[in-house]
Symmetry: C2
Subunit: 183 residues, 2 copies
């Protein structure tokens, strides 16, 4: 890659990250290009679709989530570890408004642009869930796919109610109660 191309690539990522934080992932791509000091065409050359750009921006957060998941596998309380991790997931989703929506549409197999983010995240969550299930603190019939969809749904609810700061946590707690096996 040519030096200027590489610089443009990185500039676009930086600008896109802050634009997504400020205005959500639906922000104007024209605006991103302008703020990065490049033509729109250059943006499309580097990131052929909005999803590709979102994916690239989210990649580092996804890595962090996977790393956090690995740490939490050693935590004392498997169920609390799972909750912590889901909270972290929601935190990322709320930072980039609209991300949850994009993640929800990412198919579980590796077929779309978001797979490089969503598949490892899914795997990390799956490990935490399985551990909590082995410990008997989560119902065995719950799947990681369902749990992630529900968590993303909660993130969307939180995005839409910015004035209710505790909502996501309350809904997550409710969900966690639902995960516990019947007595």
């Amino acid at each position: 890659m040519r030096a200027d191309a590489r610089r443009n690539h990185e500039r676009l990522l930086t600008v896109a990250r802050s634009a997504f934080t400020e205005h959500g992932t639906d922000t104007s791509l024209e605006d991103v290009a302008r703020r990065a000091g490049v033509g729109v065409g250059t943006l499309y050359r580097h990131f052929p679709s909005r999803r590709a750009l979102i994916s690239a921006v989210f990649q580092s957060e996804a890595d962090a989530l996977v790393a956090r998941g690995r740490e939490l596998l050693d935590a004392a309380e498997p169920c609390a570890a799972l909750l912590d991790w889901l909270r972290a997931l929601i935190g990322h989703a709320v930072t980039y408004r609209g991300l949850s929506r994009t993640l929800m549409t990412a198919s579980p197999d590796g077929s779309c642009e978001l797979s490089s983010c969503s598949v490892p995240v899914r795997t990390a969550g799956g490990a935490l869930l399985a551990r909590a299930q082995r410990a008997g603190s989560v119902r065995p019939e719950v799947g990681i796919g369902d749990l992630l969809q529900l968590t993303n749904a909660i993130a969307i609810a939180a995005e839409e109610s910015p004035d209710d700061a505790g909502l996501a946590d309350r809904l997550l707690t409710l969900t966690l109660h639902g995960l516990r096996p019947a007595a």
Copy 2:
């Protein structure tokens, strides 16, 4: 209201209803106007915003939900009645893709265009929830606001996974488990 104005109003409602069913509530308003045989300006005269149009279309479903809620207040099992009603709510939301999103942003007080729909629905749900709580089958600290936000969130997850027909039901079941008081 003049006769032609009344006819236009009804035509717009009919067309909007089917357009929302086909393409979701994000459908092109220009298209709705065209299919109704009126100019765009006429659409805006009758419904000054997209939300106003959505609200008008949803009004009759909201009425139906309220009626269903009243019936279910006499059902034998308070908790099962609540579940039935939430399922019905999700059904409406899935029919009009995007509706849940709009409903989620409707404030609980009567301040926005959607209040004429959302407030009565909220009240109906609140009655069913309160009954289940009095019967001791739902945790007392859960509020109707949180429950509706979560239900709408589940509806969004279902919309985004059209290939997984059972998703909404599974997530709703999970939630209902969470509502049960700790043993």
